[in-house]
Subunit: 427 residues, 2 copies
Amino acid sequence: MRTQLELPESSNPRIVIIGGGFGGIQLAKELKDKDFQVVLIDRNNFHTFQPLLYQVATGGLEPDSIAFPIRKIFQGASNIYFRMAEVLNIDTTNNTIDTSIGEINFRYLVIATGSTNNFFGMADIEKNGMPLKSLKEALDLRSLLLQNLEKALNDPSQREACLNFVVVGGGPTGVEVAGALGELTKHVLPNDYQELNQNEVNIYLIESNKMILSSMAPQSSAKALKFLNKLGVKVLLDTRLISYDGEKVLLSSGTTILASTLIWSAGVQGQIINGIPINAIQKGNRFIVNRFNQIEGFTNIFAIGDVAIMKEEKYPNGHPMVAPVALQQATLLARNILSVTLSNSWKQFSYRDKGSMATIGRNKAVAEVGLIRFQGAFAWLVWMIVHLMSLVGFRNRLVVLINWIWNYFSYDRAIRIIVRPFVKRQS
Amino acid sequence: MRTQLELPESSNPRIVIIGGGFGGIQLAKELKDKDFQVVLIDRNNFHTFQPLLYQVATGGLEPDSIAFPIRKIFQGASNIYFRMAEVLNIDTTNNTIDTSIGEINFRYLVIATGSTNNFFGMADIEKNGMPLKSLKEALDLRSLLLQNLEKALNDPSQREACLNFVVVGGGPTGVEVAGALGELTKHVLPNDYQELNQNEVNIYLIESNKMILSSMAPQSSAKALKFLNKLGVKVLLDTRLISYDGEKVLLSSGTTILASTLIWSAGVQGQIINGIPINAIQKGNRFIVNRFNQIEGFTNIFAIGDVAIMKEEKYPNGHPMVAPVALQQATLLARNILSVTLSNSWKQFSYRDKGSMATIGRNKAVAEVGLIRFQGAFAWLVWMIVHLMSLVGFRNRLVVLINWIWNYFSYDRAIRIIVRPFVKRQS
């Protein structure tokens, strides 16, 4: 028999939440001091504010100020227990899960594991591309960017490849990281690397669609494209990545680019866990849930956020994989579970889309709230305020704010240090 | 023939400085815009403010705010070239050095490589102990401390070892890290780990001398001991570490402590480079230099700071291995080299000791300036001001200041995140 997880006895039913992202944290918060024993499991001991990872990767923010210790969020919550562990398997027959630190049973299970990178089976991209979904990946990318600039100085044969940066995927992450690289090249490079010629640096953004930010309105997309061009980013639309061996980027247009850095932001998939029957999993590794977030075939096992796919009239192909969906689903699920004695009163989920935005650079952002669209400095300001207020913890907000003010007035990205050099993955 | 380092042609003589610590940076600064081509080489692309590493290890400061990009220090200095590289060998016959990125010749060479950990040949300590001399080591220690707290919850058989923390060496680093651990246990643990009993945590400070902070006056040492006791640190004087296999700490007193964490701050040695004749190296791996910092047997090869040992009347066994010695030697060496045409005017180095201090916890520090000694809250304030002003860069100072204010009022150490779990070294 497997070791059981050490937890205090409780007469209250146990809810296990897997994942400390936006959804999992929100759900646990809503269940604070209620008549449930809540066990929150994550492989990290911190919550990551993913929307700002690209700023960590480009030296604008400290990694520590977009991460927040999960235990700190739940200080004083006597019914919430955090465990840092990897979940290995779900046993739906016995209502238990198996983790790296032992087994635990549950009355309710909520899977809020979010999404992970999807390389669509391309082993060369998985090996040589740089994803940007975790703090570790952001730090690896920061190291590699800086290492390549250093290498460009020392190795003339590698200079071209070291100064070409290819970003694949024109969604918000790709657009934001390409814009941030553009600013780095424009403002920091000339001061730090006087021996390098700014014109030798090329930033490419590869997008398979005919437009970037395809989830936004055409006019937002067009404006973002204009902003990127202003920052010197070469946007290649209607172009797909064919292969990348770590040196040579081959595109569907037949073009080849020599590049030591390829940032992969063209695909995500649900981060599923073993044990849920295959018929409840849709292409893209997302658990099929009903409007109560119950996974197909179960009444006490739920999925919320990116790892869940729920169809409603307005979203026949499921909701976008964004934080607000996870937050709203978590809030409703908590209410439904809390009203568990009156099972007929469960409410169906409907997504309230509050809008979307993306930032390209200083004074350069695009935003949509309902039918209102705005771009430029005002959108940028709104973007900053929304992100600042969404960060967990006052200290983090303060440190981020100071860094942003600093970056704005100094045109600097001060945190360009290589704490741990990135070593290319071996096959 | 080896590749030559890529550098612009210059009619000025070339000074190569190895090491971007206090000494190397200071020297390069003094040579800014002078008639020399200055090449500064470091294996990292940043300068580390070592005196605050222990605060990074204990979650009080972001790693990025005590590091500063070397290139940023020398922005606009047209005669200073930074190269990130490992120095492999010095060829004193041909006045060249060999590095990981190629060969470079010099007119003057200054070795400012500082010090590294000294395990005195004890392989078990080198393998299992946690040193605290670099940013990477500080982050590894932070991860291990937090991992052990998590493990203590999950593995009853490991609980005792996970909650015992052994610090070896009662110098400033050992005292400071033991004090910081005491505060973490007292203020953060009860909130974050309600399932752990604060009394189960033991912090030991092992010192082979009969007093801690033996470089300071007896009354400072006694006060520091009292402060440590107040924070619950068990100080074992007149005790040596015999062995540590990663689980069991054996002491010279015969006592055995089960501990998953052993912090090694009991020994440093110079970080020497191959190629300097053995007769110019003293026990403890320091280059023997004269009062002009010239290494024995050379006129154009110098060593400054921790890696140098210079004897003057007041310091027959050499200077203490502290930042002010490196800074003062760098300043004088720059002046001497700049007056090179009037070789008789070189000035001999004399160390001006401005005092020393160590901090144990909030409102708890000891300081000595000349014959004046003070302890407690005022010493702590002075300690903070001195360290804040010594940090490089306004942004870093501001972020550190905010964190300190935050820590002071919240009794918190907010940055307790495990970005990269520490994996014990394999033999």
